[in-house]
């Protein structure tokens, strides 16, 4: 996920997380962040959460609840309206993507092939190192090439058993049945990136078959697909990668054979997908699944994953004449002629290319043309797919069992062992995060996907460390005069105000304390940490979940924050300090001590003093409250209240004030002191 996505995440957070956890109150109460309808906005983003990452500009109308069944019915109505209006769907203005999931009267069918590079130390058939092949990463080209990789005469393939570990895990994560015997075939075609003239693959006897991936609404599927949709996997096969070609000026191509022979899995679906967004969600989900079992080296952005999509359209069977529809029900009409779009390298490209190809095919058919089975290409940012080669240019791959390679026999005990050591799959993990910790599904998904799964490891570390601190130093840690001022606690800050249960947008009114800790940790691991890298370098996060901000230090900050020993602003400053290295590891509390940054809240009397000063001369404003009280205004003038709180904050000592406390006090004081006084004045 790039930086833009992160910024978007943050915008979303500020808009959507009102009321999650007491410690962010000061942030949330800043009026400019307050959305008019936070709940609704939240919901909508959740439904199309992932498209947000890819297409920030998309701003679809809220879709409050997913349409459950009457999709066909709605389509019929749309078609009817279309006929009545004589409109042509393709003549319409360019739609944004969320509205462009269906074309009335047509049914889209998509099958996907995903190639993912397996996470192994060696190549598929040679002991050469599977080194990074990206020239930009400084890997020397053509360094890791064995005799077989270069197809030197007389060399032979040597299957590297260790490849089976990530391969089997990948297949298990995709719900496949591991085949006890699989075989390697040679697939022949000439290309400079393939020195032997054939690719060794498993097309006819793959090592895994019959899997299934469940996509939930939170995965970003098209709203038309409802809450969830299952995509059936036909097979998963191992195969060799080709050499990497880098185009140079003047018709020159550089070829890096470091990549030749690297192990890939090819994942082939059944044509089960009918909406472009769902196709993109599927690819994203597969990437997440592979990353979660450590089967894959890198995601799409780094070139570790590529997708080919097969696209066809046909007249929507539901829209045929009654007679034809009856016939169609008995025997469904065949799918339309499909075209294949090769080498899509981003989620966005998957969705955009499918939309473009679907529209091209429909326009062609409606103009009386015929779709030809052909291979097409797609460039990022374009609006049309382009023809690469047609049927006449199709290669007969002349598949042949590789005579040097025996069958791969995978025993049940290996499968059982790999399955038992695989860890929690993302969906189970997400269910935990959402159900147990109370995270929003959007945040849960972001946590799980960021940094190829390292971010969530970091989150767990922070949470563990935070719980540890809260357990081991109950109620203590800070200066006594602050933490144990009973008056401040019990009277000024009503207990209800500090508990999430009082917040209207809280997911549950029975949040446990551990849930509050988790929410706090998640918010900071996701959003505050994300802000750190907006401008400068990265977090340096490691796969086992550590980064430039040690998890124990973040936990220390959060511990103080949770106990209201420091303000949120101080907490953020501390985070920056740790990130920049200004605060050495393990010195958070000392820094607070040294800088005298502890939160020493005003007493109730002191608050009242500040409030009195702020209200002085604001009779006009107070009149609004009076109007509400007298029933002349419908809504409580919250804006006015916040205006006064703001004035208090500016007037008083900000380091010693909690906006929430100030608000509570002010509200009570308006009710009981200022309004009666105003009445008497007027």
């Amino acid at each position: 996920m790039g930086r833009a996505a992160m910024a978007e995440l943050r915008r979303y957070l500020l808009a959507g997380h009102l009321g999650h956890g007491e410690c962010l109150r000061c942030l949330h109460r800043r009026p400019r962040h307050e959305p008019p309808h936070p709940r609704q906005h939240h919901h909508q983003l959740q439904r199309r959460s992932l498209a947000v990452q890819a297409a920030v500009t998309a701003d679809p109308a809220p879709t409050p609840t997913p349409p459950v069944v009457p999709f066909r019915k709605r389509q019929k109505e749309q078609a009817k309206a279309l006929r009545a209006g004589g409109g042509d769907p393709n003549k319409q203005k360019k739609k944004n993507k969320a509205d462009n999931q269906t074309v009335p009267g047509w049914e889209l069918t998509v099958g996907i092939e995903i190639h993912a590079q397996l996470n192994t130390a060696r190549k598929l058939f040679s002991p050469a190192a599977a080194a990074p092949f990206d020239l930009n990463n400084g890997a020397a080209p053509n360094r890791h090439v064995s005799l077989f990789d270069a197809a030197v005469p007389g060399s032979q393939p040597l299957f590297q058993l260790a490849v089976l570990v990530p391969a089997v895990r990948a297949a298990l994560a995709l719900g496949c049945a591991i085949q006890p015997v699989s075989r390697f075939d040679r697939k022949h075609y000439f290309h400079w990136d393939q020195p032997s003239g054939y690719q060794i693959t498993q097309y006819y006897h793959p090592f895994a078959r019959d899997g299934s991936v469940t996509l939930h609404a939170r995965d970003g599927i098209a709203p038309e697909d409802g809450d969830r949709v299952d995509v059936a996997i036909r097979q998963v096969q191992m195969e060799q990668d080709t050499a990497k070609t880098t185009a140079q000026p003047a018709a020159t191509h550089w070829i890096d054979f470091n990549r030749v022979g690297l192990p890939l899995v090819e994942i082939i679906t059944h044509p089960d997908i009918h909406h472009p967004a769902t196709a993109a969600a599927f690819v994203r989900k597969v990437q997440m699944l592979l990353a979660s079992v450590n089967a894959c080296v890198s995601g799409m952005e780094a070139g570790g994953l590529r997708a080919d999509v097969n696209v066809s359209v046909r007249r929507d069977p539901a829209l045929l004449h009654p007679a034809a529809a009856a016939a169609a029900a008995a025997e469904p009409p065949p799918l339309g002629t499909r075209t294949e779009i090769k080498n899509l390298s981003s989620f966005r490209a998957v969705e955009d290319a499918i939309i473009a190809e679907r529209d091209r095919q429909i326009a062609l058919l409606e103009a009386g043309g015929v779709v030809e089975g052909e291979t097409r290409g797609w460039s990022l940012g374009s609006t049309e797919t382009r023809r690469l080669r047609g049927k006449e240019g199709e290669v007969d791959y002349r598949y042949m069992p590789d005579p040097d390679l025996g069958p791969v026999v995978i025993a049940d005990d290996l499968v059982a062992h790999l399955a038992s050591t695989m860890g929690l799959l993302p969906d189970a993990e997400l269910d935990d995060l959402i159900g147990q910790y109370g995270l929003s599904s959007k945040d849960a998904l972001s946590l799980a996907m960021l940094d190829d799964g390292a971010r969530i490891q970091y989150f767990y570390r922070v949470l563990d460390s935070l719980e540890e601190r809260l357990r081991s130093e109950p109620g203590g840690g800070g200066p006594d005069d602050v933490t144990t001022t009973p008056t401040t606690r019990t009277t000024t800050t009503a207990a209800t105000a500090t508990s999430p249960s009082s917040c209207s947008s809280s997911p549950s009114s029975s949040s446990s304390s551990s849930q509050r800790h988790a929410l706090l940790a998640a918010n900071w691991c996701l959003h505050e940490l994300g802000k750190l890298t907006e401008l400068s370098s990265d977090l340096g996060i490691t796969p086992d979940g550590e980064c430039r901000v040690p998890s124990s230090d973040l936990a220390a900050i959060l511990c103080h924050l949770h106990r209201r020993e420091i303000t949120a602003r101080v907490a953020k400053d501390l985070l920056w300090g740790v990130f920049r290295g200004a605060i050495p590891p393990g010195r958070v509390t000392q820094t607070v001590d040294a800088g005298n940054l502890w939160f020493r809240e005003l007493s109730e009397d002191e608050y009242a003093e500040v409030a009195d000063a702020a209200v002085a001369g604001e009779d006009k404003v107070l009149a609004e409250f009076l109007r509400f009280k007298q029933g002349k205004a419908k809504a409580y003038p919250q804006g006015k209240l916040m205006f006064l709180v703001g004035k208090m904050m500016r007037a008083g000592s900000e380091q010693r004030m909690d906006p929430a406390s100030a608000e509570t006090l002010l509200r009570a004081r308006i009710e009981h002191v200022y309004l009666p006084a105003l009445k008497t004045r007027t």
Partner: protein, 540 residues
């Protein structure tokens, strides 16, 4: 360094160095090792060589690398594509033999990539046999390891390496009157052997007598036998565990000498059962060979106490067709790497291989010889989606039947397969049943190596390719089944129909085929049989 001959349209990079003159222009070598100069210090990088115990000629589709000899020799496969190709590494079998005291004398000529039966399809010219008439009217040396057979026959090498895919070691051995041995598939490492058809290719050995081959393969008490050496770089090389398992219940491996029932000379043969496959008595079989075959069988039975049993191998008649589907299919795949970009000569007139460009096609069209192109086309067709089911798949089924035929007639089980039960109704009626379980099972099969004697090169050149394919009819079945087989010289009666001065060949090849991994006993028995054939035919 090339001895003579030059690939069509190519100049070889290395100038000829002075070499020992060959007696006749047999063209058996593509390159020869430099004569060792005693004063010349050995290259410092080379390990002290093992004391030279024998000279070795190597078929030029087996890689020799910088370590193989002091003057590096190319590995050409007799193809223009590889005319200047120096392999960066050495084949395992070459290293194994050097460790056993081999000195490499040269790389021998062959049919391009091993595709042929007469060693005429070579970019370096055809090989001819060393016979009295060879200068005027030379005889075919057989193929594709013709150069190796001629080098052994001419005494230029004690042992020669060949490759046997469908008979390429046994056929030239039979034509040239030497011994040619094809081991069980998976026994000798193919690493460094440029593949023709991987599932059939084996490294074979040629020598004048069986003894030296037996010592190399089975061990001679000082050196380990080649049979015991697994090569981790060849995925089809049997693992150590599989070798031990296969050798269990086999005679001749390790210290256990083959069992003898008699101490007399030839006593090893007493009680052995030799099967004569009825299907091998084909119409095209040269009568003199048929007579010699029958005579040899009679001798073994009458003079040495062996038993001769007629057996049936009903799938034999389909074996040749299956071979010429499978081998070209694999060849078309293996040769896909020769595109003129990395090896061979790039066709400069077609510079582009972009869509519509024909760079590879043009380079391959110019770079391969006719027979290779023929087999690539054949293989490409049989693998095409429309023909695959009718050709390649059916051929694989035939292959399975051929193997089943052999398993049925041999007394020993094939250690690579579960024992099968057989339907007796499929058997030829002429086969006598030993008991209610079926016909007698045998130890070895005894049959001619080729249906004809060595033909004149002139006749070969006018043959159609299919005529040439016919020569492989007796050798292909053992290749399809992966079984060990050996061709030993068998004297034939002088030509009676020819006029004065007819100098036809005096020997044919007698082939012995054994059950899988019965190589050691096969070699021991073949050595004895070869001796008996000589004793009983003093004319030789």
């Amino acid at each position: 360094m090339p001895v003579r001959g030059r690939p069509r349209g190519l100049r070889l990079r290395h100038a000829s160095l002075p070499t020992l003159p060959q007696r006749r222009l047999l063209n058996q070598f593509i390159s020869k090792g430099a004569a060792l100069c005693p004063n010349e210090p050995a290259a410092p990088s080379l390990a002290p060589p093992a004391p030279v115990r024998f000279t070795l000629a190597i078929k030029d589709n087996i890689a020799t690398g910088p370590a193989s000899s002091q003057s590096p020799q190319p590995t050409t496969c007799a193809s223009p594509f590889l005319a200047n190709y120096h392999s960066p590494f050495e084949a395992t079998i070459v290293a194994q033999l050097r460790a056993r005291g081999a000195r490499i004398v040269g790389k021998t000529n062959l049919d391009e990539f091993g595709m042929g039966s007469h060693s005429t399809n070579s970019a370096f010219g055809a090989v001819a046999q060393d016979t009295l008439a060879s200068e005027l009217d030379p005889l075919s040396a057989g193929g594709s390891s013709g150069g190796s057979a001629v080098a052994v026959a001419a005494g230029e090498a004690d042992v020669a390496l060949g490759t046997d895919t469908g008979g390429s070691v046994r056929l030239p051995a039979a034509y040239c009157g030497v011994v040619g041995f094809k081991p069980s598939y998976g026994m000798l490492s193919r690493f460094g052997v440029v593949p023709y058809a991987n599932s059939l290719d084996t490294v074979g050995l040629l020598a004048k007598g069986v003894g030296r081959i037996r010592e190399l393969v089975g061990g001679d008490g000082k050196e380990t036998g080649l049979w015991a050496e697994h090569d981790s770089r060849d995925p089809t090389s049997l693992s150590d565990a599989a070798r031990r398992r296969c050798a269990k219940g086999r005679e001749g491996y390790g210290t256990a000498a083959p069992r003898r029932r008699s101490t007399e000379p030839g006593g090893l043969l007493k009680g052995l059962k030799f099967g004569l496959p009825l299907e091998y008595n084909i119409e095209e079989l040269e009568p003199r060979i048929r007579d010699a075959w029958a005579k040899a069988a009679t001798t073994l039975q009458d003079d040495f106490g062996a038993r001769i049993v007629p057996v049936s191998l009903p799938s034999t008649r389909h074996a040749l067709a299956a071979y010429y589907v499978i081998a070209p299919a694999e060849a078309s795949s293996n040769l896909a790497k020769y595109d003129g970009i990395r090896y061979g000569v790039r066709d400069t007139e077609s510079a582009s291989d972009a869509a519509g460009g024909v760079l590879y096609a043009a380079s391959r069209g110019k770079g391969f010889g006719d027979e290779v192109k023929r087999r690539i086309l054949l293989g490409s067709y049989t693998l095409s989606s429309e023909a695959m089911d009718n050709y390649f798949i059916k051929a694989q089924r035939v292959r399975r039947l051929v193997r089943r035929d052999f398993n049925r007639v041999f007394a020993l089980d094939n250690p690579l397969h579960e024992p099968e039960t057989f339907d007796l109704t499929e058997l030829d009626e002429s086969i006598a049943m030993e008991d209610k379980w079926g016909p007698e099972e045998v130890d070895f099969l005894l049959c001619p190596t080729a249906p004809t004697l060595a033909p004149r090169l002139e006749d070969v050149m006018s043959q159609t390719p299919v005529d040439a394919y016919m020569n492989d009819v007796f050798t292909v079945p053992a290749s399809l089944a992966g079984l060990p087989a050996i061709s030993i010289p068998m004297p034939v009666a002088p030509e009676t129909t020819g006029g004065a001065g007819a100098e036809g060949p005096a020997t044919a090849g007698l082939q012995l085929i054994g059950q899988y991994w019965d190589d050691a006993r096969l070699l021991a028995v073949a050595e004895t049989v070869a001796a008996t054939l000589n004793n009983t035919h003093p004319a030789r």
